[in-house]
Symmetry: C2
């Protein structure tokens, strides 16, 4: 299959039909109307904006999440914005059908209308980057910029997004750290087409800096500061936000996700296939993976506190690293770790260690030597030094329980208690984690070959 | 029991009876006569000397090895000395009863007479240290010096020797590296009595240098050179040989053996007991030691080449260290090792390791990264780097056999072949090694508490 045929076949599956387009535009019309009604009813000074891929017409067929931003004037206090925004969300949510409260930087309403998710997010009505006050304020500017610059390349964006999804490099969430939709849009606008972007996977990494709106000329000091900061943090890519020179659009992109894009781009260009866009999921069995690797899987499960992923997951990671380090000090080799909101995986080399621990002591003819001799029951000489040994527990669960009980591990502060109270599972995971366990053990997550 | 009673009881057991003294002096008379006859018969220009503890009257009751030195004039060539000495040894050996050839710096004859071992060793008839040409030449001078200086303290020497034997610190052989008989004699002469020597166990170590014949004054340059050399090699004690300023009598004394003396001296002075001189041997079972330690014992057995201990044992040690290092590179922890002429012990933490080995690769976006990607079957990304894994054998014997087969370990040159051809035993030793295995696993060898 040559590359044009692959692309044609993929496009057929990802470009919305006329019918779907009509459904979406009707949907947005109706939501807009209801929103304006609600704003009037509540007598608010606010303006609704659609942002996200629906607003930019870069959504994939069948993917209809609505991002509805309620923009308040800049002179609104942050408190008022939160309060009024939430109030509006609730009333509008009621009117749309059902809703719930979700939490990000601020609480917001997640409603559902005609089976479509509608996020109702309050923000400031900023006109340019100098006005930006909350993390979401830029979205309206982003939408505006993309609509102005995309010039009919919407389907190229769709191809890139689908490709990134297929190779597992899409999504800017903290637990993914892949390409965001906005980043995909910028890359298409910058390089002109889906295939061009793929061909630039090596070039981009070397050039490092993409600056579509030439902020370097317009605001060189601020832009340089941004670049310096991001270089200091060793980011794979620096994409100066076309609407804000202080921001790297690729700030959350990890080296691993970029790496998937790097290898899969080159592979695709050499041997194109629809597989890259729509991979056949082949999830194996984690138990057979364990058997063939002759390693063991320790799983900690716990009830995490109710915190957003951005706050919680880095804490879980810190904890996983902390426990890994302690286990290694205790003589178990940790071949890898992974984690989620409610679990930590540790792949270890064995379940039982030796039953004694040798303690190296001081020079035997010193005062310290004398004390060491007096303090320990079994003492012998090695070279000029004393040594001693004591029995230790051998089973990894006993060792881990002691580490947890004594709190001898570095951990995220909001999560330590939950982990200490949690469970330890050996070579077995609850059914809902079996896929994660397989992906972890097989190293599928960041596999490039 | 107070200290005088202990000493009295010990003396009773170690001082030869009148009867034994008579037996020994008759024995020496007879051997001397036969030697002189043989020298005459062979028409040799040589003189017999008795050296060692029998000659110095510092032997322990029942311990009657005879050291018979045949001293040749200084103008004899080394070759002639070897040849004539061996010839004489054989004829004399025949005359005494049975004999065999033994090997040290030179071959010599080990004969037996009336059930007593008689070593017949050729040497030069040196009058002082400047004439010394072979390692054994000093013995006649040593005997002479001790006889001149011991001043009736022969039993004090006997006590010290028996004490050192009891605490396992006696013997200057390479596989022991403890106190020699001559060193014990010097210490008694220097400090005056058995108890004085014990009381000086700490003082001696701090003073470091003992120089009974004041060579520092008489030959300061040479003596300083000796001291510098021995300090450089970090010896626990430097005892300038009363008959040769170039030599440290304690050169072969190890820190471990001195440590046994150090702790046991202090313990004895605090709580005297005959136990120190005649310990009840309590050899435990190595299998129960293994069970309680929850470790494993790997034993390599082999047929060593016919070399003296001084040559062979350091090579075995080097090999043991080399194999230990390789096993640790392969992921097995080696808690300790020990060795003898025909075996190497390795205490390890486990018999099975994990079944995969992770290989860390280069940065993924480099030429090296490209090659790594092409060369390996399973490749994934960790951070900015590639990683790969391959299956490995898990059983320690398979791993060890591969190390041996590939010769991937540093070893003594005369011994590598023997070890590669030898056997590997797991958690089991031949009966003749079971005591060694126990002493090793229990760390009894250099236990001080």
């Amino acid at each position: 299959m040559d590359i044009e045929d692959v692309i044609a076949e993929v496009l057929q599956r990802i470009v919305p039909t006329k019918e779907e387009e009509n459904f979406v535009s009707t949907l947005m019309e109706e939501i807009k109307e209801k929103t304006e009604e609600t704003i009037e009813e509540l007598n608010l000074d606010a303006k609704p904006y659609f942002v996200g891929s629906l607003a930019k017409d870069t959504y994939l067929a069948g993917d209809h999440d609505v991002d509805l931003f309620i923009a308040f004037p800049l002179d609104t206090s942050l408190e008022e914005l939160r309060e009024k925004g939430l109030e509006l969300g609730k009333v509008l949510g009621e009117r749309l059908g059902k809703y719930e409260i979700a939490y990000a930087e601020h609480p917001y309403v997640r409603a559902e209308y005609k089976g479509i998710r509608v996020d109702i997010v309050p923000c400031y009505n900023v006109k340019n980057w100098k006005d930006v006050r909350t993390a979401v304020d830029r979205s309206i500017l982003h939408t505006h910029w993309v609509l102005e610059n995309i010039k009919g390349k919407n389907n190229e964006v769709r191809l890139l997004k689908r490709f990134l999804k297929g190779i597992n490099a899409y999504g800017s969430e903290i637990y993914i750290r892949g390409f965001s939709g906005y980043l995909a849009e910028i890359l298409i606008i910058e390089f002109g087409s889906f295939l061009n972007v793929l061909e630039k996977s090596d070039f981009m990494l070397r050039k490092k800096i993409i600056d579509p709106e030439d902020w370097m000329k317009r605001e060189s000091e601020i832009t340089m500061k941004t670049i310096k900061r991001e270089v200091g943090e060793d980011k794979p890519l620096i994409v100066i936000d076309p609407v804000d020179p202080r921001r790297n659009v690729a700030a959350n992109l990890s080296w691993e996700r970029y790496g998937l894009f790097y290898f899969k781009s080159q592979e695709f260009l050499k041997e194109p296939s629809t597989e890259f866009f729509f991979p056949r999921k082949k999830i194996g069995n984690y138990l057979s993976a364990l058997r063939s690797r002759k390693t063991h899987l320790i799983t900690l499960t716990f009830n995490p506190p109710k915190l957003v992923d951005d706050i919680l997951l880095p804490q879980v990671e810190r904890t996983a690293k902390g426990i890994k380090r302690q286990l290694e000090l205790e003589g178990f080799k940790v071949l890898g770790y992974d984690y989620g909101r409610e679990f930590i995986f540790l792949e270890v080399d064995r379940l039982e260690r030796e039953g004694i621990k040798v303690k190296r002591g001081p020079l035997y003819f010193t005062q310290h030597g004398k004390r060491f001799y007096e303090k320990n029951d079994i003492v012998w000489i090695e070279g000029k030094e004393l040594a001693s040994e004591k029995p230790i527990s051998t089973f990894i669960v006993d060792v881990l329980e002691e580490i947890l009980r004594k709190g001898q591990f570095s951990a995220g502060k909001n999560i330590k208690d939950a982990i200490v109270k949690g469970d330890i599972l050996v070579d077995f995971v609850p059914k809902e984690l079996s896929k994660d366990a397989y992906l972890f053990l097989s190293r599928e997550k960041f596999r490039v070959k």
